[in-house]
Symmetry: C2
Subunit: 313 residues, 2 copies
């Protein structure tokens, strides 16, 4: 099997490359290194079954030879990044996805598109099943990401309907693990960095908003199962950990695992910040036989050494 991964040097992309290689795939990794990092895949570069191309997916791609699977993981994904580069973020979702789907169509490959729990916006139902249509402000500051992902889904199912392409869409909920960037603005790297440096932990709002955090090994297993699942129907599946935690509880858990005595510091809630977010994973359980196995307590312990090492660099 020969498999292309866009955004393959990113947090999730690089773990996926490893998983694909472990399964015997030959991997072509594309990344423009905007939020992806060469060090995430440095240990793979010498392998004969791994090829790395610096490429911006908003530009057309031509790859020689057969390709069996395409995973479109490329995107600025943290609010801090996509608010700094809103237009590029929108281009990756539209032009990048068009290019990815066009390549997959030319090669007869199965495509997995990385979508996001952000398609649900600020939801009125909790947990969110795949059948929920979402509540997204199309002209709010976060719409550059949310609408980009909704567009990605729309074009994905359109390629399936028009060209019969095998399309899988993963609605990825918050995930954490080694290789997250310290400065990407997400809550866990921020808490970890602040806790390990003895700085105050920044909480937006009163901290009663919840998140559901999935450990990266669980998420990668879900993506893998979705990719290789049998069937030709378009599959749209939530992947995430339904164990919900308030931001305030999470701060306490991070302080504990890091052995930190940092205080908490409260700032105003950003516009359109989702108050709740939790996956209904019944479809993933039924169709993929998948559910998360790593508890948050275990995941935080596993990821701690990465952050301890990362803040020393």
């Amino acid at each position: 099997m020969r498999t292309l991964v866009t955004g393959g040097a990113g947090f999730l992309g690089s773990h996926l490359c490893e998983r694909l290689l472990a399964a015997g795939h030959e991997v072509i990794c594309l990344d423009n290194l905007k939020s992806g990092r060469r060090e995430n895949i440095a240990h793979l570069l010498a392998r004969p079954d791994f090829q790395f191309l610096v490429h911006d997916i908003t530009q057309p791609i031509f790859i020689e030879g057969p390709i069996d699977y395409v995973l479109h993981m490329a995107s600025l994904a943290s609010p801090k990044d996509y608010l700094q580069e809103p237009i590029h973020t929108l281009k990756v979702g539209s032009w990048g996805t068009h290019h990815t789907l066009g390549l997959a169509k030319a090669k007869g490959a199965t495509v997995l598109l990385a979508s996001s729990s952000e398609v649900y916006g600020d939801p009125e139902v909790n947990p969110q099943p795949e059948s929920y249509w979402g509540r997204v402000n199309p002209v709010g500051p976060r719409s550059v990401y949310d609408e980009s992902k909704r567009y990605t889904e729309a074009i994905g199912v359109a390629y399936h309907r028009v060209h019969g392409l095998r399309v899988r869409i993963a609605r990825i909920f918050n995930t954490y693990g080694p290789r997250m960037r310290l400065e990407d603005g997400r809550v866990l790297p921020m808490f970890m960095t602040q806790a390990l440096r003895g700085e105050p932990l920044t909480i937006y709002g009163d901290g009663s908003q919840t998140r559901s955090l999935c450990y990266v090994s669980d998420l990668i297993e879900g993506l893998w199962r979705l990719l290789v699942a049998p069937g030709t129907e378009a599959l749209i599946v939530n992947l995430g950990n339904p164990e919900e935690v308030t931001i305030r509880e999470l701060a306490q858990e991070v302080l504990e695992v890091a052995g930190s005595r940092s205080p908490l510091s409260f700032l105003p809630l950003p516009e359109d910040d989702p108050k709740i977010r939790r996956p209904d994973i019944r479809r993933a359980q039924q169709v993929l036989g998948w559910k998360p196995l790593v508890s948050r307590a275990e995941g935080l312990r596993r990821v701690l050494p990465y952050f301890q090492e990362a803040i020393r660099r």
Copy 2:
């Protein structure tokens, strides 16, 4: 003033070109003639202040000389059309809008983007104010149009925020008038054609779903006022007629104005068809001093001769 209109040979586009010319603008009309028609602008072609270019807006555009206003009206807009060409519809919303905004940025022009009441999807509130975030199925059959327009809005406000571009977004509700295509699948041309030919009028579902129909002269006046409104803020405004009518009542009104005795014929409701749709036009009234002036009775009388002529061709 020199003004570019994409989709300028379409139903709304061609009426807009006339209005701009009447206001003394020099008009450059772009159209790929996919759903637009040369005959809509044939009477303008000899004018020195009117230029027509056959161009597909999914391809980059370069125009020499200054441009003051850009109106992005291009899109397959009837469900029948966009369901036949879903991928092209999505490309017009993303690539087409990027190209339009890029040109406007290069020229320092004010942009008006044609959005749609479809960004509200199948709404939970009636009428729909601009602050309503909508209820759209991102992977339903209609999502190719709905998500295309939501993406259009997102990239529009992103260009405003990043580049300071003067951006106006018109959420256009159902509009009718001369130059609608008989075969475009919308309810009024369908009813008119069927009534004038003595064929049964096709009603989807039980006909209790409502629509709000705006006569084209009112809509064009609203677009014009939005285009030239002072201010640099991004303006997002509903344009439509809030007078609501059930499909069944509309059928009766058409039969009456056409003097037809056609019976009614009932078919199942298509998937994701909106049940209600009615604009809250308070913002347009406040900001633009605009409201529709043509009643439905008057509008149906005015448009009748066009359909009588059109079915003879």
